[in-house]
């Protein structure tokens, strides 16, 4: 299932970089279905980098001038909700962080 989620996520990103928003509704719908199945999918793009966020695997720049932000998301963060009290991280987000 994670592989399918990642593929759909990548597909959405690909269309977005081409400013093609024609399938946005369909993506929203698909992600809604994933959520119904208990997957919480988070796109951490533009999030401020924090070393305490263990839900992402980041590559940081060598120089640090400015605020560190996530500028590219290669894989989204995925949590699996088993019940109201039990949620667990099933995939770390893979991201690139830049000083902006």
């Amino acid at each position: 299932m994670l592989a399918i989620i990642n593929q759909i996520f990548e597909l959405e990103q690909k269309l977005q970089t081409k400013n093609d928003l024609s399938a946005e509704r369909n993506f929203k719908r698909i992600f809604h279905e994933f959520e119904e199945m208990g997957y919480k999918i988070i796109n951490p793009i533009n999030r401020k980098y924090s070393e305490t966020d263990t839900d992402i695997e980041a590559t940081l720049p060598g120089t640090q001038r400015g605020v560190l932000r996530i500028t590219r998301v290669l894989k989204p963060v995925i949590y699996q909700v088993r019940n109201a009290d039990e949620t667990s991280l099933v995939q770390k987000g893979i991201v690139i962080v830049e000083a902006v």
């Binding site: 690909k14 970089t17 509704r25 929203k28 719908r29 809604h32 279905e33 919480k40 924090s50 070393e51 305490t52 966020d53 263990t54 839900d55 695997e57 980041a58 590559t59 940081l60 720049p61 060598g62 120089t63 640090q64 560190l68 500028t71 590219r72 290669l74 963060v77 949590y79 909700v81 088993r82 019940n83 109201a84 009290d85 949620t87 667990s88 991280l89 099933v90 770390k92 893979i94 690139i96 830049e98």
Partner: protein, 832 residues
């Protein structure tokens, strides 16, 4: 006497921990991030100590305070300078290793272990071995036993593959990890395992293959595409946008490498808008192999030298066992097979083989008798009194957890989130501290605060810190009642499904995906009704206050609406409880928007008449039922409601064209009151009946649990784990939804066993001929069936039952799929 039971692989690049229990080994997962492998990296930054993935991330940004591969320096006098706010302190490789060991120790639930097996490379001398032991003691283990890594790997293979070693053998351990290569010759017989000799290179690993892959395969293609011949040089300098490209290519190379381990070729797709790179190309495994080959050849040289120095050849080796992630590459396995002509064993996960072996060994080693009893250990722990403060409900993305010790105290703390998405790392504090914690939206976030003494031994923990995000809030605007949407049942009646739950914080929004329960022809008078009400889910729709009402008639649509096609509804409610409904119909591409404010109440007389008609149907059934049961008092109550509704209906017809007076609002109010009375008379009983039916299905499942497959068991457990949510909901439709899911599951399990078809066969055979479409060959089929039963030929019987079932007239078939409509509901309400 207890055994040690805990085995640790303290590696140069990665480490891990395993536990032996009841004859089995479990590789433990990091509660933060849920991984089995912990990078052996420690970082120090602004008073925060991080171990593992997060420390490794800072490799470039905080290079002077990030330490890795310190295992190479263990047992030397070399120390590492750590720049902290209060000056520079020195830390040894032993101290750094102790941090890794402590981190691994935190993976264990329950009692903290006092002893462990720790693995070391076969090449370690006495000083290095003792230094590793010391790191174990510093990490809080009272008893440490060392085990050589190749021995651990062989143990894992021997145990997991249940090998029966009757004569003496020599195995070769081939350990190709992320950053190091080691190979060892191991002697093995019925009783013992020992390392004869070993060789290795601390600077040869999978990372070198990744880099060579980028340099030799990806860069030439990119250089050609961009026309930039100096691309590799710029990339090597890793500055500006080229640094980002370098990270991006590393990720792509890693993914391609994994893929090529499974498929003969891979498409690499590169999108890097910053340098106008958008390309894709196919790489075959042959091309990848040409990159792997030189690195592999280096490892082969080590093996050949090792064998030569021990006067052996490949024919003396009975088995080559694989360790380390790089051995996943098929070329390496094939090349080893081809040079050695012996068994190349990859039956154990090479990334955890050493952990598994260490844990097996730990399961056989007794703990020393000097250990203190558990009670005494607990008593020895200093008591610490903590005052804690935090917001339990919030709408912010992060919250502050603050705490202080009642008495003066200096030590460390660590806060982690139970889902694995947050870890403060280890931080020093003096009596009081506070930490901003990141929250997972729309969830209950559970945190654990642990306090450590100055030696970093845990002395206090509180796992009960719960912060709910966006669920409840005492200071914000609360929704006082459920907001529900009215949906069609399959039998022509309607029910309420909650959209927003009571006590949620405003503003709220939600998208619903539904299908049309009926078709509407363009320009016809047919209509789809969308009705949003304020009231509890599970109550009678007509008894609640309608706060948003839309009719979409045949005149409003640009083409026909077809039954079972999709409809999307976006409902938003702002802080002042204004409701917006956005309806999107994908098949026609139409978007209909409506805003409602509760003050501008919208009442449809037609809808009121429809609600009353529904209630009358229920009343008729209830009257028959109560009279049959001689419950005359209840019957009298139903009769009174029926009479009042009948009058109301007359009055409603009278105000149909009246858009001036407030009469229709008054009548709507009366309708809701009467329907509310009816609802309270029947609901408790209906919920009770629904509960009964649910329990019945649950028992059926438990009765045939043995026959269920793993996936079916998981589905069952999923339903049961949500019981607290629906059994107490008072909503018969919700309970019914889960009952139906269970019923489908039960049917699936039931038909899995061919034997169960005997009962179904007898049921079919006892039916009159008019139940079947074609009755001509019934007699023959039944005779055949009886013969199959007699011969216990159940697979044949199953086929026969299917053909009998297909021959049944539709009205006698039992519909099991809850999504499948039964009969044609005459409702003109819109959604199902």
């Amino acid at each position: 006497m207890d055994n040690i039971n805990i085995g640790i692989d303290l590696g140069t690049t990665n480490s891990g921990i395993g536990k032996y229990e009841n004859g089995k080994v479990q590789v433990l997962k990091n509660p933060v991030g849920h991984r089995e492998i912990l990078p052996s990296v420690v970082s120090f930054r602004k008073g925060r100590i991080l171990v593992g993935d997060k420390a490794r991330e800072q490799y470039l940004s905080n290079a002077q305070n990030v330490f890795s591969a310190f295992k190479r320096k263990i047992g030397t006098n070399e120390t590492y300078p750590v720049s902290q706010q209060d000056g520079v302190t020195e830390i040894s490789a032993i101290g750094l290793s102790a941090y890794v060991l402590k981190e691994l120790k935190s993976y264990i639930h329950g009692n903290t272990p006092s002893a462990a097996i720790i693995t070391i490379p076969a090449s370690f001398d006495t000083i290095q071995s003792n230094a590793t032991k010391k790191a174990g003691y510093e990490a809080g283990f009272e008893h440490v036993v060392l085990l050589q890594e190749p021995v651990a790997a062989c143990l894992a293979y021997a145990n997991l593959s249940h090998l029966n070693i009757e004569e003496e053998q020599r195995w070769l351990v081939y350990d190709f990890g992320g950053g190091t290569f080691d190979t060892a010759l191991v002697y093995i017989n019925q009783r013992e395992l020992k390392v004869i000799d070993n060789k290795g290179n601390n600077f040869l690993g999978g990372v070198d293959i990744d880099h060579a892959f980028i340099a030799q395969v990806i860069i030439p293609r990119l250089a050609e595409l961009t026309g930039d011949a100096g691309l590799w040089e710029k990339l090597s300098q890793k500055t500006g946008v080229y640094e980002k490209l370098w990270h991006y290519l590393n990720y792509q190379a890693e993914e391609a490498k994994k893929q090529l381990s499974m498929t003969p070729s891979v498409w690499i797709e590169l999108n890097f808008p910053e340098l106008d790179i958008a390309t894709e190309f196919e790489i075959s495994r042959d091309i990848f192999n040409s990159v792997v080959e030189p690195k592999y050849k280096e490892t082969e040289e080590f093996i050949r030298t090792l064998l030569l120095e021990n006067n052996m050849s490949f024919s003396d080796i009975s088995r080559i066992v694989l360790v380390g992630g790089t051995t996943y590459i098929p070329y390496i396995k094939d090349a080893l097979k081809s040079i050695s002509k012996t068994i190349v064993d990859d039956s154990v996960d090479p990334t955890t083989a050493v952990i598994v072996g260490a844990a097996y060994y730990a399961g056989s080693q007794p703990k020393p008798a000097t250990e203190k009893p558990a009670a005494e250990m607990d008593a020895a722990k200093p008591a610490i009194d903590i005052k804690l403060s935090y917001e339990a409900f919030t709408n912010d993305k992060e919250e502050l957890i603050a705490f202080k010790t009642v008495n003066p105290f200096t030590g460390y703390y660590r806060i982690t989130r139970s889902d694995g998405g947050f870890d403060s790392g280890l931080r020093a504090f003096d009596q009081s501290a506070s930490e901003f914690v990141m929250l997972l939206p729309k969830s209950k976030n559970n945190f654990r605060l642990a306090i450590f003494d100055i030696r970093q031994t845990e002395i206090y923990n509180n796992a009960g810190i719960s912060i709910s995000h966006g669920l409840y809030n005492v200071t914000g605007q609360l929704l006082p009642e459920d907001i529900c949407i009215e949906l069609d049942n399959n039998d022509g009646t309607t029910y309420l499904e909650p959209v927003f739950k009571r006590n949620n914080i405003l503003p709220l929004n939600r998208t619903l995906y539904k299908v049309f329960s009926k078709s509407v022809v363009k320009n016809s008078d047919d209509k789809i009704i969308i009705n949003v009400v304020e009231g509890k889910g599970g109550t009678m729709p007509g008894s609640n206050l309608s706060i948003g009402y839309i009719e979409i008639s045949g005149k409003d649509i640009s083409s026909d609406l077809i039954q079972s096609t999709d409809i999307e509804l976006l409902l938003t409610m702002d802080e002042s409880r204004g409701l917006n409904i956005e309806v999107y119909i994908p098949s026609t591409g139409q978007l209909i928007k409506h805003s409602f404010h509760i003050s501008g109440r919208d009442v449809s007389v037609d809808k009121s008449v429809y609600d009353i008609a529904q209630a009358e149907n229920i009343l008729n059934r209830e009257l028959i039922e109560s009279n049959k049961n001689e419950a005359y008092e209840v019957s009298a109550l139903f009769q009174k409601i029926a009479a009042d509704l009948s009058n109301l209906k007359m009055e409603l017809h009278g105000v149909k064209g009246d858009n001036i007076t407030a009469e229709k609002y008054r009548l709507d109010e009366r309708k809701r009151k009467l329907l509310g009375e009816l609802d309270s008379l029947t609901r408790a009983r209906d919920v009770y009946a629904a509960l009964d039916k649910y329990k019945e299905q649950k028992e059926i499942f438990i009765g045939q649990k043995e026959a269920a497959k793993d996936q079916q068991l998981t589905s069952f457990e999923n339903i049961v784990s949500r019981e607290s949510e629906f059994l107490n909901s008072g909503d018969k439709h919700l309970i019914d939804k889960y009952r139906k899911e269970l019923s489908v599951l039960n049917d699936t399990v039931f038909v899995q066993s061919d034997e169960n078809f005997v009962g179904i066969f007898y049921n079919m055979a006892s039916r009159p001929a008019e139940h079947f479409k074609v009755a001509a060959n019934l007699g023959f089929l039944i005779e055949e069936g009886l013969r199959h039963v007699g011969e216990k030929n159940y697979p044949q019987l199953k086929q026969l039952v299917y053909s009998l079932y297909n021959n049944l007239r539709d009205e006698y078939k039992v519909k099991r799929n809850p999504d499948e409509p039964i009969g044609g509901g005459a409702s003109n309400l819109g959604l199902r």
